[in-house]
Amino acid sequence: MALLEIKDLVVDYGVIRAIKGIQLEVHQGSIVAILGSNGAGKTTTIRTINGVVKAKSGQILFEDKNITNLDPYKLAAKGIIQSPEGRLILRGLTVEENLYVGAYSVKSKTIRITQADGTVLTKKQSARALTKQSLQEVFELFPVLKERRKQQASTLSGGEQQMLAIGRALMGRPKLLLLDEPSLGLAPLIVQDIFKAIVKIKEQGTTILIVEQNAFQTLKIADYVYVLELGKVKIKGNAADLLKDDQLVKAYLGA
């Protein structure tokens, strides 16, 4: 069963049809990448999932529930959190405050643990404790944020800002993390750092849907890839297989 499923999605911008009926599945615990050139509809797809752009027709299912055209803030409560394109960090706030804002949608929850003898233990975790825990996790993932936690977010470098944007999204404890062009405007070395962090996030159990221009790097970390062209899925398949196919990579991804 797929965590996220898109069926026959169609999106219009006024009279222009941006997405012309795409099918897409994201399985639990994997990294799925959407690739393609400018204007292929990558960002539109991710924005439609996140409810910022409304779909004309088609369905988006998350955990088998219809979430098409829900408002973004409701999706955050359901566990779909986006790290937006261009980072959009909150400039007037410190690094730590930025991260706390990310924990806005975290609610207290009770965990049920079934023991070996059949009895069920219930454990209550307050939102505050969960927030503290995710703050620790984010600092472990990006130690540089811990060093700079009292610093104004606007004074961070581009790479650090991207780390902050991803960290802020992780503070909401997402089930599905949407990453919109995390390599945008960053130096190649820093892009590698970011991509390593993305793999770590996946290993910790968060499912990731990533939209990227940097096709070659993305193919290396992704499990499954969709290549869009002019609003349609042109190619789909395992990233490892696509990486082997030199001609295809040259034709569609320009890497």
Partner: protein, 388 residues
Amino acid sequence: MNSLSLIRQKRIGQLKSLIHHPYFGFLVVGALLLFMQGLRAAGVNISITVMRTFGLTMIYVIIGLGFSILLGYAGLASLGTAGFVGIGTYLVGYLTTKMGFPIYIIIIISILGAILIGLIIGFISLRIEGMYLAIITLGLSEILNEVFKNAVEFTNGTNGLNMSTIVFFGTFEVINIETIFTALVFILVLVMVITFNIMKSPTGRAMLAMKNSESAAQAMGVSILKYRLMAFMIATVYAVVGGVLYMTYFGFSIPSSWGLAFSLNILAAIIVGGSRSIYGVLLGTFMIFGLDMAVFQTINVSPTQNASVAAFIARFPEHTEQLSEFFRSLNGAIPTMSYIFNGVLIIIVIMFYPGGLYQLVITLKAKISKLISKVMKKVKVYRYGEDR
């Protein structure tokens, strides 16, 4: 180390944590204001004008705190503050003098009314941004002002509404300005504590996120609708409650007080002080309103009323006429000089300290502590010699 000094150290630690508690500063502000009133009661010569200045400024601080949440946190500009303060004054005036409602019921009614008004304006504001929102709220405020002028039945029109008694437990009681001043101090401290909690809570952070970037805030689960409405509700509740307190303390309300000038002054106070800090609002309000009332309105250099000016003129017998003419015209101009002073202040603050005077205070504090630590280091080197 013996047990006595251990206990002493623990005490010092407790004291330190008490001083660093965020509410400590608010209590100090309240204590200082009460202390001033105590001094006056003990016979120290503090004029009634100064007391009234502090009383009214406290009310303006309450209004300003609501506005700082709206502007500094939610990033919504409004020029309608005056209208809502006016509503508060007429509400308490009418309900007391005509209906005989007790003051605590009136406060509850005014808060409920303010929430309703805030919701309406919040809904209007949903599709309007920045300067256009300011113009819309200005329009609303002007409409309210016309209503105040023409609903003579409720507001006594342009003659202004008087209120010299309030009802507490079923009977009319003459307003005692000293009692109200004390009550105002307690209300101010309470409002500062509430505001602090709003600012530091997830609500405050959600509003800051919304101000910075609406799409980023939404991506993190912040509902723009909810927080816009909430910001307007908080600002209107503070403004209307401020109006109720104003009428109770000052006892008189006239439509011309609730025009654009008042809204702009509140805006100026927040910008001069610093829109995201409680102490900044306190500082800014005292600069804009307090100085005007306590200094500019009270200076009197008319030669017939000011003895030292008369003495100065007497030293130049051949120019008596020109000099007394000069001082008479100067006396007429001084009260309006506060506008010039405020204007210059706003320009200087915006140019050099966009975070407000509070930012200046913090910068100075950091510089001084740096200087002290530098000097201490020098002293240490001088006394014990170089380490390595």
